[in-house]
Structures are given as structure tokens and as C-alpha cells.
């Protein structure tokens, strides 16, 4: 499904969120945590709204001692403090171009396309992986990101399943778009796994065909796909 069967260094990945609490935040930061497991550098989290909760970051595998948290200054406008988003974009751009930074995470709500182009050039230069959360309004516009996922909340639940489910649609990638994937976050250990429905029901997960090109059993393909999924090459 993904080019090179994973996320290469210098890649920009967008998670398009449909609504607050749809797990796009969790998925994006989980990707950052996986990147940190494979590379020794620091991570820059650009959080202009100052809402990232550090204990939760640590719990999903982002160590505090390797985290650089960047808050954007607020400017007074009409008696209210407004976040200076452009400062956050500048911080993202600077961080992406820095060697020694493994991943850069940020919320990028509305941004000029030139900024995204700058992000792409900086990421190619520095080698960091850029992970952004974007609103669903950006789907109608072109993007310079290499991979774009649209995250849907999946309200369907099975009584025996202990976790939170979500559905992702690949809306931008070199290898083709439109493919979908259903994932579940296990509530006990926080592991991300392909969603499996109860016996007899139609499997919602369609991993084998898009991800595996070589012949093999469906189960093996299923396992390998789940391992490769967050692999940062």
C-alpha cells in the first residue's frame, strides 16, 4: 500500500481528521513513537495550543528526555490571545531541516501551499519525518505531502472487542489512492492492530491485496502487513 513498504526518512505524512477525538491524534503520535524507536534523535512536537499531555506522550512511547516541545507565542487581538500559527510553521520548517531530529509533529490547520513546499524541501534536506494533523477541508486542495491518510471514526463495535477502532483511507501516495484499512487500538496495552470482527461477520480489514504483492498465505500476509505498517525505513 505504501511506497517502499513504510515511511522513509524525509517523508511528509498527513492525517486528515474528520472530528476531534477520532484517533488521528493518537495515530500520528504513535507513528512518531515508532520512528523514535528506530532512530536515536530527538523529536520536535510543535504544539501552538499547548494542549499535548506529556504523561500520555510517555505512555505511547515518546520519552520526555528526547522531546522538544515548541509552543507558539500568542498575540493579543480584540482582547483575546490568538495563536501565532505562522510561528509554528516556521518552527516546523526549521526542525524538518535539522539533522539529528528524527520526527517533527505538528497541527497544520490552514496553511499556504508554499509552506508545505518548504516543509518538503526541508524534510528532504534534514531527513526527519514530518507528521501533521490537518482538517478535512484540506482534502479539496493539492498537497506536497508524500502520504495523506483520511481518518474516519468507526462507530461499529463488537461487544467482545476491547479497543478503539478507526478506519483510514489513503488519499495520497505514489502507489495509488483510495485503499482503506481498519485498525484497532487495544485499550489494555495500547497496541495498534488490524481490526478483526467476530466470527461469521464480513472482515472489514482488506490488507492482503493492497499491501502484499508477492504470493503467500493470507495469514502470513496479514501478519507481515501489521508488522510493516509503521515501519520507518
Amino acid at each position: 500500500m505504501l511506497p517502499d513498504h513504510g515511511y522513509g526518512r524525509g517523508t511528509l505524512v498527513e492525517f486528515v481528521s474528520s472530528q476531534a477525538g477520532d484517533l488521528s491524534l493518537w495515530l500520528s503520535l504513535h507513528l512518531v513513537a515508532q520512528a523514535m524507536k528506530q532512530h536515536a534523535g530527538c523529536v520536535v512536537l510543535v504544539d501552538p495550543a499547548r494542549e499535548l499531555f506529556a504523561p500520555a506522550l510517555v505512555s505511547i512511547g515518546i520519552p520526555a528526555e528526547r522531546t522538544i516541545l515548541v509552543h507558539a507565542p500568542t498575540k493579543e487581538k480584540n482582547g483575546r490571545g490568538e495563536v501565532a500559527w505562522h510561528e509554528g510553521y516556521w518552527a516546523i520548517n526549521q526542525s524538518l531541516g535539522c539533522k539529528g531530529i528524527t520526527a517533527v509533529w505538528g497541527v497544520v490547520p490552514t496553511v499556504d501551499n508554499r509552506w508545505l513546499r518548504r516543509f518538503q524541501l526541508s524534510a528532504e534536506l534534514g531527513g526527519a519525518i514530518g507528521v501533521f494533523i490537518r482538517p478535512s477541508t484540506v482534502l479539496n486542495y493539492p498537497t506536497w505531502s508524500d502520504i495523506q491518510w483520511q481518518v474516519f471514526s468507526d462507530p461499529k463495535r463488537d461487544s467482545h472487542q476491547d479497543g478503539w477502532r478507526c478506519r483510514l483511507r489513503l488519499t495520497r501516495a505514489r502507489t495509488g489512492t483510495g485503499q482503506e484499512l481498519e485498525l484497532m487500538v487495544h485499550s489494555q496495552n495500547g497496541e495498534l492492530m488490524p481490526a478483526v470482527l467476530a466470527e461469521g461477520s464480513r472482515p472489514a480489514l482488506q490488507l492482503e491485496e493492497p499491501l502484499v504483492s508477492s504470493p503467500g498465505t493470507a495469514a502470513a500476509a496479514h501478519r507481515s502487513a501489521s508488522k510493516r505498517w509503521w515501519n520507518v525505513a
Partner: protein, 521 residues
């Protein structure tokens, strides 16, 4: 500068720099190392004379005290065409030796210059240092290594007194005199006693060339025959007479200021001047092996309040070009106002926070690439802090506090010292399991309306005027603050999933009974 009398009860060291004026110049300008260098100075009676010459120039027939015209004629005659002539600067030589003494405080707490008109040796106390450097040889090796790395050539000697240490360093190849017995000094020339040249000539005329011969003479008659200085120097050599080290103390603060004769209105000129002062202060710090973490720059304006700028750094290891870039970024952000109306009349720069810059050793399995990468990260943090403010670039620290708002502390990454390893230990914090805590914690609780089912579990929530059915609710998790903290916090938290799959963290305040939205997963 303060004096410390030394009676010879403990070991003293002397570091002698042969041809110090030449060495000082060669260290400053390494390209002169392979040149035949001649320093000259103005003599009131004889005109321009050769002051000092490099070993290669000495081999060519140049000697100190030679008229400069004679030395130049040697060069012009074609026999020595590549002689390089420079004006001597004894004041600068003295100042540089003092600065070197300040730097060498890392090897001894008590250090000073030898008491002559033109000093070229440093005197150090070795008291209590033996264990630190694994003996005298270890100390000498460490000092030699440091001096060699910085381009200096020195002879070092340890002895029971200052006079003995100077004599050995200047006139002997022995680096460490024995603790007992003065026989080692008997073979040294009488000039090793630091006596007047006239006294030395008299002794030589009498056939007394070595200290051992001098010792054979009755001590009581020495003062009457050769003056009191000779007997005193002999006593100082033996350690029976006190001698003082005028210790050089490092400066208490590192700052530089520049009153401007003509007020500055141009930002570019201002930037250059600030950079010049910062470089000067940084070099003072570097001499002591220190590096600044926080710079304070004050621009005084005419008939207007002064402007204060603070430049905070992530680490003291910083290149000058990068520091310049940071200062320019800061000055770009400063509103100087009407520069023509309120011109800047003086600039002062101070290193408000500084730490020791260790020569960092590569760690196990660490490559040079890692060092380059960490330097890049340092520069990135500096840039971010300068542009966004030091308080905006932070590292989170998780605290062992159950109240979510108080469970995180943000530590600025720049302008602060790295805590010592012993201070880094913190109380163990219980890291929550994944999905137990939301990744996004709202800065302010949002009041919501919650409906409960028969089991007293939330079944619907009204958020921003919209009703959401709750499909799953996990909880309650009771969180209470300590009784000693006011106001007391008592909350029941629920992790809920709405029917349209929003994962929220809500709580009921047990004091008021009201419900609030606190986080989003």
C-alpha cells in the same frame, strides 16, 4: 592580585616559557611558526634594537640587543632574505601571560607570574594536587599535554620552593627535584639564583660559576661582600626564606561595555558592535574554559529607556557565526524606535550564566556523525528560542501528581544549566497505560451537560449545545488532590466514546456535581 607567602612546606611548580614574546605571537598567528621572526623595540639611547628572535632567526646570526639596522642589512644582503620583523609589545606579552595564568587555574588554585620586569614563567602551588593527578608526574604530563594542545612549548619543574622550581625550570632538564637534599642545585649556574647581572659577573670573575661553589663560602660574609640579595636568594632556593606568589585571580564576572562617542543609529553598525563585545567576552570565558549559556545585552539610548536583550543558549559550545546569527535575529525583533531621535549611546554585554565547556569525549558506540547531529540540534533549539522566546521551547517533565494540570512541568531548554547527575534523580512517576490519559488536555475545562443511566454511568453528553449519545463509558477513576493543597480537587473521571466515535475524557466535580470535558484522545 593578592600575595600568598610560601615557606617551602609544600611543593611549588614553575612553568617556564622560553622566548615567551615569540611564542605568544606564534600562537596568535600560527603562520609565523615556520618564519624567521625578529621582534624589535625602541631603546632611548641606542635606537631600534632586536628584542627577541625565534630559534631559526638566532641560528642565522640574529641576537637580542643587536641594532635593527644590522639585522635588516643581513636580510637585505641576501644571506637571510626571509626574516620577518615585528614590533615587540612587552605590555601585551605581560597581559597574555596573565590571561594564560587565569586559564591554568584548572591545574592549580594558586597561580601567579614570576616577579621580574619581563616575566616569562608562571608559578603554581602544588599543594593537595597529588591525588587529583596521580602524582607529580601525572600533573606535569597533564599540564604539558594541555599546553602542547594550545601551541605552547614550556619547561615545567617541581621543587620545595619557588626559587628552586624557577632554577630547575630555567636551567635544568630535571622536572622534579627530590623532597630532601639540595645537591641537585649545586651544579646549576649562579645566574639560576635570579641575582643582578653585576653580582653574577663579579662571581664569575672570582671563579665562582656554580651554586655548589657558592655554598662553600661562609654564609655570613656573602651579604657584606656581594649584597643582601645573594644570601636571600640562596635562602629562598633552600626554602628557608619566605617568598610570595602574587596570585592572578580570575575575574568575577565576564562583561564588556562600549561607550559610543558618536551615537549609533544604524542597525547594521549596532549589530557589528554588539558582536564585537560578545566575541571579546566569549574569548575571556574561553580562556577559563567556560562558555556562556545566557547573554544580557543592554543598549543605552539618549533620552529614552534602555533596551535589554537576553540571548539564551541550549549549550555553551557554540560557533561564533551561529552566535552572530542569533544576535542578529534578536536585534531584528527589538523595536529600537525612532533611531534618529533616540540614538544609542552605549552598549554593554554580560555573560549572565556560564558553565564549564568540557572537551567532550565521544561515548561508546557514538560516531562523529552523532556529535555533528547534536550540534545541529543545539543550533536548532537556539534559533527556535531566539525567535519564539525561551519559554516557548521546552522539555516536558512528568511529575508524580495525580491532578492532571499539575502532573507536567515545562523546563526551558535554553539559558539553564544541565542538572548534575545526582540532581537528575526524581521521584518515580507512575506512567499511565496507553489510552488511560488523553493526548490532548484542554487548557480550560469545558462545562458540559451529562445524562446518567440507571447504573449512574454517563449515557449522553451535551457539548456545545449538541447532544451526543455515549456508546461506551469506562470509569469512574477518582482523582483527589492532597488535603494540604487548597482548593481541594475531587473528581471522578470517565473515558467515554460517543456514538459518533469521539473519544473524550470527562469528569464530574464531586464538590459541585457539575460535569466538564477535560481531554480528547
Amino acid at each position: 592580585m593578592s600575595g600568598s607567602a610560601v615557606h617551602g612546606q609544600h611543593r611549588m611548580a614553575c612553568i617556564f616559557f622560553p622566548l615567551w614574546p615569540i611564542q605568544r605571537l606564534v600562537v596568535a598567528e600560527p603562520q609565523l611558526r615556520q618564519r624567521r621572526l625578529v621582534l624589535h623595540h625602541q631603546d632611548s639611547r641606542r635606537g631600534q634594537l632586536v628584542y627577541a628572535a625565534s630559534p631559526m632567526a638566532l641560528q642565522c646570526g640574529i641576537s637580542p640587543g643587536m641594532p635593527l639596522t644590522e639585522a635588516r642589512s643581513l636580510a637585505r644582503s641576501g644571506r637571510q632574505p626571509d626574516l620577518t620583523f615585528r614590533q615587540a609589545d612587552p605590555d601585551l606579552d605581560h597581559q597574555q601571560l596573565r590571561e594564560l595564568a587565569v586559564t591554568l587555574h584548572q591545574f592549580s588554585p594558586l597561580i601567579g607570574l614570576e616577579q621580574t620586569d619581563i616575566p616569562s614563567a608562571l608559578l603554581l602551588s602544588f599543594k593537595g594536587l597529588s591525588r587529583l593527578f596521580h602524582g607529580e608526574s601525572g600533573w606535569i604530563e597533564a599540564v604539558q599535554k594541555w599546553l602542547k594542545a594550545h601551541g605552547y612549548h614550556a619547561r615545567i619543574a617541581l621543587a620545595n620552593s619557588i626559587g628552586a622550581a624557577i632554577a630547575l625550570a630555567r636551567f635544568s632538564d630535571i622536572t622534579s627535584a627530590p623532597q630532601f637534599g639540595n645537591q641537585v642545585f649545586d651544579s646549576l649556574p649562579v645566574s639560576a639564583l635570579r641575582i643582578e647581572p653585576t653580582t653574577c659577573d663579579t662571581l664569575l670573575a672570582l671563579g665562582i660559576s656554580a651554586i655548589g661553589q657558592l655554598r662553600l663560602l661562609p654564609r655570613a660574609s656573602l651579604a657584606s661582600r656581594f649584597g643582601s640579595q645573594l644570601a636571600k636568594r640562596l635562602d629562598q632556593l633552600d626554602g628557608t626564606a619566605a617568598e610570595t606568589i602574587c596570585s592572578v585571580k580570575p575575574p568575577d564576572n565576564f562583561s564588556a561595555s562600549m561607550p559610543l562617542e558618536y551615537p549609533v543609529t544604524d542597525r547594521q553598525v549596532l549589530c557589528e558592535l554588539v558582536q564585537c563585545l560578545v566575541s571579546r567576552t566569549a574569548s575571556m570565558l574561553a580562556l577559563r574554559g567556560q562558555g556562556a549559556l545566557r547573554w544580557e545585552i543592554v543598549l543605552t539610548r539618549l533620552e529614552a529607556p534602555h533596551i535589554s536583550i537576553e540571548v539564551c543558549l541550549f549549550s555553551p559550545n557554540i560557533e561564533e557565526a551561529h552566535l552572530r546569527q542569533l544576535i542578529e535575529m534578536h536585534l531584528d525583533q527589538v523595536r529600537i524606535g525612532d533611531a534618529e531621535k533616540y540614538p544609542i549611546t552605549s552598549i554593554s554585554v554580560k555573560a549572565a550564566e556560564y558553565v564549564r565547556v568540557a572537551d567532550r569525549q565521544l561515548e561508546l558506540f557514538e560516531s562523529e556523525d552523532d556529535t555533528v547531529e547534536s550540534a545541529c540540534v543545539s543550533m536548532l533549539v537556539n534559533r527556535l528560542a531566539v525567535r519564539l522566546g525561551a519559554a516557548q521551547v521546552v522539555r516536558p517533565r512528568v511529575l508524580a501528581d495525580p491532578q492532571p494540570e499539575r502532573s507536567v512541568k515545562f523546563l526551558p531548554l535554553t539559558g539553564t544549566r544541565v542538572p548534575k547527575r545526582s540532581q537528575r534523580r526524581t521521584s518515580p512517576t507512575a506512567i499511565p497505560r496507553s489510552l488511560e490519559r488523553p493526548l490532548r488536555l484542554l487548557n480550560r475545562h469545558v462545562a458540559i451537560h451529562v445524562e446518567l443511566d440507571v447504573a449512574e454511568k454517563p449515557c449522553a453528553a451535551g457539548i456545545s449545545g449538541e447532544r451526543h449519545c455515549i456508546a461506551l463509558a469506562v470509569g469512574p477513576e477518582r482523582i483527589e488532590s492532597g488535603w494540604w493543597r487548597a482548593p481541594i480537587v475531587r473528581r471522578d473521571y470517565w473515558r467515554v466514546e460517543t456514538s459518533d466515535a469521539r473519544r473524550l475524557w470527562i469528569f464530574r466535580d464531586l464538590k459541585s456535581g457539575k460535569w466538564f470535558l477535560h481531554g480528547v484522545f
